[in-house]
Amino acid sequence: MPDTQLREVRQPKAHDSAIKQITGEARYIDDQREPAGLLHCYPGKASIASGKVVAMDLSAVAAAPGVVSLIKVADIPGKNDCSPIFGDDPIISEGQITFHGQVIFAVLAETRDQARWAAQLAKVEYEEEKAFISVEQANSNDSTVLPDYQMGRGDVVVDLAKASNRLQGHLEIGGQDHFYLEGHVSMVEPGEDGDMLVHCSTQHPTEAQHQVADCLGVPHHAVEVRIRRMGGGFGGKESQSGQWACLAAIGAKMTGHPVKIRLDRDDDMILTGKRHEFEASYDVGFDNQGRIEAIDLTLLGRCGHSADLSGAICDRAMMHSDNAYFLPSVAIHSRRLRTHTVSNTAFRGFGGPQGVLSIERVMDHIASSLGIDALEVRKVNLYGDEGRNTTPYEMEVFDNIAPELIEQLEASSNYQNRRAEVVEFNRKNKYLKKGLSLTPVKFGISFTATHMNQAGALVHVYGDGSIGLNHGGTEMGQGLYVKVAQVVADSFGIDLERVKITSTTTAKVPNTSPTAASSGADLNGMAAKIAADEIRGRLAEFAAGLFQASKDDVRFENNEVVVGTERLDFTDLVKKAIFARVSLSSTGYYKTPEIQWDVATGTGKPFFYFAYGAAVSEVTIDCFTGEYKVDRVDILHDVGHSLNPAIDKGQIEGGFIQGMGWLTTEELKWDDKGRLRTHAPSTYKIPTATDTPDVFNVDLFKGDGNRAETIYRSKAVGEPPLMLGIAVFSALTNAVVNATGRMPKLNAPATPEAVLLALRDGDYLV
């Protein structure tokens, strides 16, 4: 459909639940009316990181007030596993403890307080074993969850040896807790025939369905997983929401009662995985302009005690360690390290951010060593024309708009004048120093596991001309539901308000992929359009018959059907169609074309296209304390032709702040016993309203739309903007370089403490 006929798509429509959310009517799972007889489940946790349970006395737990039953590993009727792929995540430990906090039993009680209280009364004896907590411990002991992997091209050893300049560096990258405002929660209602209705706050209803069915030992058809909305997900509810649904379902099967489980925030942080910590080491050769001639890069990922999604996450880190730059001779090595900590998982960017940050550190390091502005180094390294347009995994960068986008942002942010002002400011000030940085993002869109790039939808047209819309995507605040509804409304030429968005459920659309990889609107928007267009086609054919016209002459616009000079209200046409026995319900199915990946050679076209963006960040650091302020941020981001510019800008703003938080204030600390010491917002600092830049300009890139054939030529927007936050980290690095005159040992997150230590390490004001 040409853009001129779009009435809802491209409009800045409000989030589908906006009014319900501001009036308190929107129901999250814990807000649903509780069914009669509801029991509350709570897990009992291991208090060591590594070892065996020698004895477990649960008599005090069982005798506690309100306790109805205990769930022990022997009570699991089917498979004791809630892993997404590898079968290595027990729902309840079978005696071997692999991280501090691991579930060793669960309690069912009349109230949540009673269950929580009782769960702490277990007397457990352990035989402790050696625990690997840090990246270094795991790496030096070759402790891995999956085999090492590498990709690249050229003879890097030879090319490094003959490079004009060469340097080595190392960067530690911290993890990140999702801190979705709604923690993990599930409520399970048993039905007849052993059926279970599972309300689960999950980005992956299909996986939760499989896990619940498998742990109960029933067919998948016996389990329906339903989710209307989540209070945030960010990847944390992709593979790690199933465990809680499983525990509740086992409890429901044992007792015949409905069962709810809602983790306390501290336990949510202790018991569920986070963004992977990484350590990057590089050896890079470059010419006198800073253009990379060869690079050898090693990425160590701290995966935690099980594989979870770590294979694909570490792959994506490797595939993004080029970011927007051409690396002519390159070797990328990846290790997937096993530590005795919670299993790290998907988090917005899925490894990509760690890869991008690694190469951006290289850019800053090269610039610092040559004494030139890092933006010049970044520019000479950008992907370009033939000969400089293939990634390390041999995919052509066919849609490279990074040079143009950076040029526009450089001008609109007044970068060059501000660079001069920063130099002048730093000349005049000894105790305050400024840093300025422009960093780009190029992010590959598609699941790297090719088979996951599929989606289904189900559209019904009812007799009054209202539409029921369902698809496999889940709503976690990102605005997927309203975007897909806009698409469907335009297929029928009707108002958005006539489209009812219904809860995501495995009973309507089966075998779905998670809402992840930024792919929600790309996949589900296309599937819903295919379903709607199928019905529209039937209606068009019927209307053509009514007016003795050709099907191609039928138009749907302004809630009417127009055939030549004849006009008919959409509802009237629908009524006539039902009377004439026309089916007004259809599924839609979409799979992303063109993509493929060869694991053996580490080459292929894993992405349908790339999304681009760039950010300029200016910071001021206090060299006495290490404290800093983000003075100004300018963002230009590419969303193709936007389906909904208001929603997209919200994703960019929120993604940037989340990325900035990851690299500045959000610090996860484990002690040597493997205990997470930052398990509440009191100690784990996510950005608040005062942590944002003083000046914050966000614009959408005005280009020619997505060159790949996506839904109305839009681009995915969920993850890419998170990496815009790297501009703040880079600006902080620049400020320290401006103070000390040399490249600092500044790791992420660059907390004020870390900045102060970096200044001291550079002998500044010592």
């Binding site: 800045p12 409000a14 989030h15 639940s17 906006a18 009014i19 319900k20 959310q21 501001i22 009036t23 308190g24 009517e25 929107a26 129901r27 999250y28 814990d30 807000d31 009316r33 999702h178 801190f179 979705y180 405002l181 709604e182 923690g183 909305r229 989540m230 209070g231 945030g232 960010f234 306390d264 925030r265 501290d266 976690m476 605040g477 990102q478 605005g479 208001a646 929603i647 800008k649 919200g650 703003e653 929120g654 993604g655 940037f656 702040i657 989340q658 509440a680 917002p681 009191s682 996510i686 950005p687 608040t688 309203a689 005062t690 944002t692 914050f696 966000v698």
Partner: protein, 155 residues
């Protein structure tokens, strides 16, 4: 169990309540008003903010027995019938929400914060909202919403 009486969203309610019951649990479980959310369980995130005698309070920080004799307003009591409160309207118009979980607390905090101060500065708003965490929006549209809401509420 002690007995309490209060005005909840303009309606008189009374009944017995356990001394250890938190105000948020009383609101959500006893009164079935689930717009007030529990985000962090430890009085930090602000998802549970309600008004007690016109002042914003984190309802997981207070016991139900402490509101005996008070007027309590939750997010459900803010609109007048079908007509949204100006602050609610401002959040809708300015896209001041994404997942919506923090929104009720954010709106309740904002209403108290700007009361009597239609020209409140951006800095005052940001500092006033430090006790309300949002993980989705980056606060940009929330601050815009609160500024617009303050204007619409007037002096």
């Amino acid at each position: 169990m002690p007995s309490i009486s209060l005005t909840l969203n303009g309606r008189s309610v009374s009944g017995e309540v356990e001394t250890k019951t938190l105000l948020v649990d009383y609101i959500r479980e006893n009164q079935k008003l689930t717009g007030t959310h529990v985000g962090c369980d430890t009085s930090q995130c602000g998802s549970c903010v309600v008004h007690v005698d016109g002042k914003s309070v984190k309802s997981c920080t207070m016991l139900a027995v402490q509101v005996d004799g008070s007027e309590v307003t939750t997010i459900e009591g803010l609109a007048t019938g079908e007509e949204l409160h100006p602050m609610q309207e401002a959040f809708r118009q300015n896209h001041g929400l994404q997942c919506g979980f923090c929104t009720p607390g954010m709106v309740m905090s904002a209403v108290d914060l700007v009361a009597g101060n239609p020209d409140i500065s951006e800095t005052e708003i940001r500092e006033g909202l430090e006790g309300n965490i949002c993980r989705c929006t980056g606060y940009h549209n929330i601050v815009k919403s609160v500024q617009a809401g303050a204007k619409a509420m007037g002096g």
